[in-house]
Structure formats: structure tokens, C-alpha cells
């Protein structure tokens, strides 16, 4: 009799736990939606493009944070993609496996370093360097709006650099995998036609792996969007939109980290939760795109193998 109960019971228990995962994800979405209601009611869609952030007058707009998030992330990717792809090409195409595997392992360790530790090094090492760089660059290029402003050391560019360092290992790890998965016959075909190894990589291997590399970028993007600690420690935390890359800025995650515990009024808190909701939705979309892209590379490899 015990035997007949065991199987359905075990299955039920594990089913409940599996179900709870869906429940948890749904709960998060619901809570974000519910607790941001006061702010959504008060500001509507204009929340997204208003740049006032006034906790005293209780008028809130998310634009400075959206701008800060997107700008810092975009610059970070602009830095990290060439570096990451270049390193991945070196590891996949140039170096023998015996050397490349342990090096890749080391680089992947960078993924495990906690954000706050990156922030720690950034605050004491990068910020002074940026201050010096700015004092050098300012006299020469300071007239260009892009480089204007006092040399604080903290700012959009500093945060972008830290982000770039944090996401480069993602790009390297995933890109290397997809490059290695390109069938050798493709390279053979190009080499047999008289292409150099570089031309083979540039014109055949990388295009073949293009979706996967793009997927790695989106994955990196998703991580960068949610990055909180390292960013808040070096971005200056000023809620304004400023064209200069040296200017202090603010990101969605950073404002949540700094102001959440201080928000006493309902609308203030709700505005912050709404920013959380926004962040949630954006990362959802970006992650979805990343999955699609990486799935496509896997599919193409299966087709080629068939």
C-alpha cells in the first residue's frame, strides 16, 4: 500500500516546488505593479520622459535614470564588445586549447567577483585616475559639450568603464563557445580558396557565429542594466540629464539602492517601485532577445551537422 502512494506523492511534491517557481516570478511582477500604482496614477506615461526628481515637492520623473542607465550601458558595450570579441577570437582561433582553456577559466572567474568588490576597487583606483584623465583632457577638449564639466572623477564614463570590465567576461565566454562551435569544414573551405586565417575568421567564422555573439552582447546588456553597487559607488548619483560623459549621473538601480529606505511618503515610494517595474520589464525583454539569438545559433549548427 505504501508503494502505491509513494509515486504520486513524490511527483506531487516536486510538482508543487516547480510550480512555486512560476508563482514566485508572477508574484514579483504583481507586487511591482501593485505597489507602483500610486505613482502610475499620479504621473501616467509622462513619468517616462519627465526629468524632475523632487522628493520634497513630490514630483517625480524617471528620465534622468533611464538616460543614465542607457547611456552608461551603451558606452560600456561600446568598450566591452571589441575587447571581448577580440579576446574571444584570440582564445578560440589563435591559441592552442591547452593554453586557452585555463585562461578562459581565469577570465570566467571575473564573472564571480561580487559587484561591491568591483565598486571598492573602482572608488579607490579608477576614480582618482579618471580625475587625472579629466584634468588632462579638459584643457584640450573641454570646449566640446561631450567632455565639459568639473573633474569630479565620478560620473557617467567612470561607471561605464566599471560596467565594461564587469561584462567583458560574459562576452568572452559566450563568444568563445560559439566560435568554437563553427564547423571546421567552413574554415577549410575558406582556407582552400586561398583566404588568410584572419580573412577566414573575419569573413566566415564570425558571420557564421553572428547570432550567438549578438546573444552574448544582449546577455551582457541585461547584466549591466541591473548592476547596482559598483555603479552607485562611482556614478555620482545626481539625477540630471547631462550630455557630458564626465558629468555625474544616476541609474535606475542606483536610485533604488540609495533612496528606497528614505522614501517615507507613499508617492515617493511608489515612484521608486515604478522605476523597479521599469527595470524589470526592460531586463525581461533584453533577456528574451538574448535567449532567442543564442537558440538560433544552436539551431543553425544542428542544421549544418545534418
Amino acid at each position: 500500500m505504501r508503494r502505491r502512494l509513494g509515486d504520486p506523492l513524490f511527483r506531487l511534491v516536486s510538482l508543487i516546488f516547480a510550480l512555486s517557481v512560476i508563482g514566485i516570478a508572477a508574484t514579483i511582477a504583481v507586487i511591482l505593479y501593485r505597489d507602483s500604482a500610486p505613482a502610475r496614477a499620479a504621473f501616467g506615461w509622462s513619468f517616462l520622459w519627465t526629468s524632475t526628481w523632487d522628493p520634497v515637492a513630490l514630483r517625480f520623473g524617471a528620465l534622468p535614470f533611464v538616460y543614465g542607465t542607457l547611456a552608461s550601458t551603451a558606452i560600456a558595450i561600446a568598450i566591452a564588445l571589441p575587447l571581448g570579441l577580440g579576446a574571444a577570437i584570440c582564445l578560440a582561433e589563435l591559441m592552442p586549447r591547452r593554453l586557452a582553456d585555463p585562461l578562459t577559466f581565469l577570465i570566467e572567474l571575473l564573472v564571480a567577483v561580487p559587484s561591491v568588490v568591483y565598486g571598492l576597487v573602482a572608488v579607490f583606483v579608477l576614480v582618482p585616475i579618471m580625475r587625472d584623465v579629466q584634468t588632462v583632457v579638459q584643457p584640450v577638449l573641454g570646449f566640446i559639450p561631450l567632455f565639459r564639466g568639473p573633474a569630479y572623477g565620478v560620473g557617467l564614463l567612470t561607471a561605464a568603464i566599471v560596467l565594461a570590465v564587469m561584462i567583458v567576461p560574459f562576452i568572452i565566454a559566450v563568444s568563445r563557445e560559439v566560435l568554437l562551435a563553427v564547423p571546421q569544414t567552413q574554415r577549410d573551405a575558406a582556407l582552400a580558396l586561398g583566404a588568410t586565417r584572419w580573412e577566414t575568421v573575419r569573413d566566415v567564422v564570425v558571420p557564421y557565429a553572428r547570432s550567438g555573439i549578438l546573444g552574448s552582447v544582449f546577455l551582457a546588456l541585461a547584466r549591466a542594466l541591473g548592476e547596482t553597487m559598483a555603479v552607485t559607488m562611482v556614478i555620482g548619483n545626481r539625477p540630471e540629464v547631462n550630455v557630458s560623459i564626465f558629468a555625474p549621473a544616476y541609474t535606475m538601480a542606483a536610485v533604488l539602492a540609495n533612496e528606497f529606505t528614505e522614501a517615507t511618503e507613499t508617492v515617493y515610494l511608489a515612484a521608486l517601485v515604478e522605476i523597479g517595474l521599469l527595470l524589470f520589464v526592460i531586463t525581461l525583454v533584453v533577456n528574451g532577445v538574448a535567449r532567442l539569438l543564442i537558440a538560433r545559433v544552436g539551431a543553425r549548427i544542428e542544421v549544418a551537422r545534418a
Binding site: 517557481v21 577580440g86 571575473l110 561580487p114 571598492l120 567583458v168 533604488l256 524589470f280
Partner: protein
């Protein structure tokens, strides 16, 4: 060799040189990071760091004993949630899950994995801190536990799937019921991989700061029980690093080193266990 060919050769040498430079740069950053923290942190470590409570604000001295214990309690609480849900959910997906429902579970786990940790903090704040009316170790542990679930789930499912069906069939053919097969044959066969996956999920949340900022908050004293706010290494690092006191900066470095060693050490350990296992089972 013609001019065109010479140019192509030069381009090749240059571009491959550039990729090598990129790799060296990335590696260089890693080594610099590790080295700098080791240097700064080691010079600030002392017995006091591990055994004393933080000194009153502004006074030098003191340590982070409460943060170390706090982190341990948080991780313990997190594991209580994250491991059962992740593990059993993974068991379901690997052994019973086919079709649409399983796809949704996997998707939900991916979503959970991708949510910025600060947003998870908001959710736990609304769910636990507000009703309880204080910040607590429980809330912090819950937030971390939620983050562990997708990592534990994916690792469990992946390693259970790797167990060949022939093992399951052999057990069933001997008359063992399905659940006994799973518990006494399949799971043990995958245990090495699952254990390392669970270890990694723990390492992943050990360094998280954001979700603790408004769940466990911080505490300059001991935090008895589970319903008080608690100090933790990551939050201490953050607080001390941005403060104006030199002494606090030094302690932040020490804490950073300890945290880094724990997290990276766990990662390396996990890999070593995995590699050892694979060679044995081959």
C-alpha cells in the same frame, strides 16, 4: 609575393596582434584586481577584524565579527529556501517535466535569474519587511534564497538529465517504484554535479549587496535571532567604502579580500570537484 598579398599578410598580423592585446588586457585587469585587493586587504587584516564588533562611528578600531556571522546566517536562511525549491523543482523538470508546463517553469526560472537583484529586494521588502514592520535577517535571507533558486534548479535539471536512461530502466525492471529509482539511483548518480551546482548558487548570492539594502539593512551590533536587521560583509564594504573615514576604508579592503577569497575559492572548488568527478565516471 605580390603587393596585395603582402598587404593581406600585414593586415593579418596586425589584427591577430590586436586580438592578442585584447586578451592580455582582459587578463591584466583580472590579475590587477586580484592583486590589488590582496595587497590592500592583507595589510588591513587582523585578528580584531574577525573578532571585534564595529567601533562607534568615527572611532578607529573595531572589526566585522557581526558582519561575518550575519552573512553566515543570511546564507543559511537563503539555503533553506533556495536549495529545496531549486533542487526539487529541478527534479520535477528532469524526471517528469515534458511539454508546455515544464517550458513555463524553465522560463520562469530564467526570468527569476535575470531580474536585477535590487528589484528582488523591493519585492521582499513589500512582502516581508512591511508586514513585519522591521528589517530582518529573515527578509534578507529570503531575498538571497529567491536568487539561488534558478541557479540550483538549472544545475539539478542539467545533471539529472545527464544520467543515462539505462540506469533508470535497470532499476524499474527490478521492481523499484519510480520515486525510489529517482531517489536511490538517479540522484546519487548525479550527486557530484548537483552538489557543485548548489555550491555555486550559494557563492553567487554570498556577494550580493543590493537585495540586502532594504531587507536585512545593517547593524553595528550583534543581531540575535532572525527578526532583527543584520550586518553582512557586502553591505559593510559598501557602507565603509563610501564613508569619509580612513580606518573604515582599510576595513573595507579587508572585508573585500575575505569576501573575494570566499567567493572565488568556492567557484574554484566547485570546478575542481566537477573535473574530478567527470574523470572518474568516464
Amino acid at each position: 609575393m605580390t603587393d596585395v598579398q603582402r598587404r593581406r599578410r600585414r593586415v593579418e598580423r596586425f589584427m591577430f596582434g590586436a586580438t592578442a592585446a585584447a586578451m592580455v588586457a582582459t587578463l591584466g585587469v583580472l590579475l590587477f584586481l586580484l592583486g590589488y585587493i590582496a595587497w590592500q586587504g592583507a595589510s588591513s587584516l587582523s585578528l580584531a577584524f574577525f573578532t571585534r564588533l564595529p567601533a562607534p562611528v568615527g572611532e578607529p578600531g573595531g572589526g566585522m565579527a557581526n558582519a561575518i556571522v550575519g552573512s553566515a546566517k543570511l546564507l543559511f536562511t537563503a539555503a533553506l529556501l533556495g536549495i529545496p525549491v531549486g533542487f526539487l523543482g529541478g527534479v520535477y523538470l528532469a524526471e517528469y517535466g515534458r511539454g508546455a508546463f515544464a517550458a513555463w517553469v524553465r522560463y520562469a526560472a530564467d526570468v527569476l535569474n535575470g531580474i536585477p537583484s535590487i528589484v528582488i529586494g523591493i519585492t521582499v521588502y513589500a512582502l516581508v519587511v512591511v508586514p513585519m514592520r522591521h528589517f530582518s535577517t529573515l527578509a534578507g535571507g529570503l531575498a538571497l534564497g529567491l536568487m539561488m533558486i534558478p541557479v540550483a534548479l538549472r544545475a539539478t535539471e542539467e545533471f539529472l538529465r545527464l544520467v543515462p536512461d539505462s540506469l533508470r530502466e535497470a532499476s524499474l525492471a527490478l521492481g523499484a517504484p519510480r520515486w525510489v529509482t529517482i531517489v536511490r539511483v538517479v540522484i546519487p548518480a548525479a550527486s557530484r554535479g548537483i552538489a557543485t551546482g548548489l555550491l555555486l548558487s550559494l557563492a553567487r548570492v554570498a556577494g550580493e549587496t543590493a537585495p540586502l539594502l532594504f531587507t536585512a539593512l545593517n547593524n553595528r551590533f550583534w543581531s540575535p535571532g532572525w527578526t532583527q536587521p543584520t550586518a553582512s560583509l557586502p553591505v559593510m564594504i559598501f557602507t565603509y567604502a563610501i564613508a569619509p573615514y580612513e580606518d573604515w576604508h582599510r576595513q573595507a579592503w579587508a572585508a573585500g579580500l575575505v569576501l573575494l577569497v570566499l567567493v572565488l575559492g568556492t567557484n574554484v572548488l566547485a570546478r575542481v570537484i566537477m573535473r574530478g568527478g567527470r574523470m572518474q565516471s568516464a
